[in-house]
């Protein structure tokens, strides 16, 4: 491995940042959700990079679990979005603002 680990970490950070910006700026619930997935993946990348650096499989295992949990999360999240859509005919998160002053 000739690439410095730091590059992978920077890449992971950039992807994470992009995912966060996506979460904050998009209005479509599904797109927000996808940005979240991007964030999760960025973190997985960082985990695997560290695992390679420290010669320890823990990082990979953790990334693996992260993927599993992300899968479960997507299932439930999409079910919620579908339920909300049924009620309001819209997936715009700005429309779901009952919990306010």
């Amino acid at each position: 491995m000739r690439t410095p680990v730091a590059y992978y970490l920077m890449l992971s950070g950039i992807l994470f940042m992009l995912g966060t910006v996506g979460v904050l700026t998009r209005k479509n619930a599904l797109l927000i959700f996808m940005s979240v997935e991007l964030q999760l993946n960025a973190v997985n990348l960082a985990l695997v990079a560290f695992s390679r650096l420290h010669d320890d499989l823990t990082g990979q295992v953790l990334a693996f679990f992260s993927m599993v949990v992300a899968a479960a999360e997507v299932v439930v999240g999409l079910a919620i979005i579908v339920a909300i859509y049924r009620r309001r005919r819209s997936v715009d998160v700005d429309d779901v603002r009952e919990l306010r002053w």
């Binding site: 491995m1 000739r2 690439t3 410095p4 680990v5 730091a6 590059y7 992978y8 970490l9 920077m10 890449l11 950070g13 950039i14 992807l15 994470f16 940042m17 992009l18 910006v21 904050l24 700026t25 998009r26 479509n28 599904l30 797109l31 959700f33 996808m34 940005s35 997935e37 991007l38 997985n44 990348l45 695997v48 990079a49 695992s51 390679r52 650096l53 010669d55 499989l57 823990t58 990979q60 295992v61 693996f64 993927m67 599993v68 949990v69 899968a71 479960a72 997507v74 299932v75 439930v76 999409l78 079910a79 919620i80 979005i81 579908v82 339920a83 859509y85 005919r89 997936v91 700005d94």
Partner: protein, 200 residues
């Protein structure tokens, strides 16, 4: 030039570009496709980092199951057509970008202070003794057995939760309702649902 360097410098821009693309497009399906590209790049990176098992899992689970599920729902809800946006929260965009930039700068400084930009990983990944999959399996089923079992329960719960959340009491749909709902997307007239997971 070392091979992994080349591969890295080819796929890194692609992944960043696809991420940016995902952010910018209006159409949800396009965004999902961009994301899939991004996942593939990441899978390659796993491969570069001597994690072939995760490479496979990434493709199968993320790109193959999760994104497919996304696409299902996007199609189902018919929100693929993008609507022009008028931003209500004025401060949201600029602040998000500013914070993102700040975050990256932060990270840069942290990495420079921590790992350092010249550190390379050790030449041999001894943990991969006997093959990555075998090693992962060994660790997974011994040291991390309990989280493994818990995660399996979690998946079960998630499946049930999804079914409950998306369940709609089946009832006879009258002609009047069909007429009244004329023009609505067809999605809400499907009687039975099991949002079911494609993932195991």
């Amino acid at each position: 030039m070392p091979l992994d360097n080349v591969v890295f410098w080819v796929f890194a821009p692609i992944s960043v570009a696809s991420a940016i693309g995902m952010l910018l497009v209006r159409n949800a399906v396009h965004a999902a496709l961009f994301l899939i590209v991004n996942f593939f790049c990441l899978a390659v990176f796993y491969l570069l980092l001597d994690a072939p098992f995760l490479f496979a899992v990434q493709i199968v689970v993320y790109a193959g199951a999760i994104m497919v599920l996304f696409l299902f729902v996007i199609m189902l809800l018919g929100v693929d057509s993008g609507v022009p946006v008028r931003e209500r929260l004025i401060v949201q965009r600029p602040l998000a970008f500013a914070l993102g930039a700040a975050f990256v700068v932060e990270l840069f400084l942290a990495i420079r202070a921590g790992v350092g930009f010249t550190t390379k990983a050790p030449a041999v990944f001894t943990a991969n003794e006997g093959g990555n999959t075998q090693a992962v399996a060994k660790v997974l089923f011994t040291q991390y057995f309990f989280p493994f079992e818990v995660t399996s329960v979690l998946l079960l719960v998630a499946a049930i939760a999804a079914m409950v959340l998306a369940h709609r009491k089946a009832r006879a749909v009258t002609q009047a309702e069909i007429d009244a709902a004329a023009g609505e997307p067809a999605a809400d007239e499907m009687p039975a649902y099991g949002s079911g997971t494609a993932a195991p």
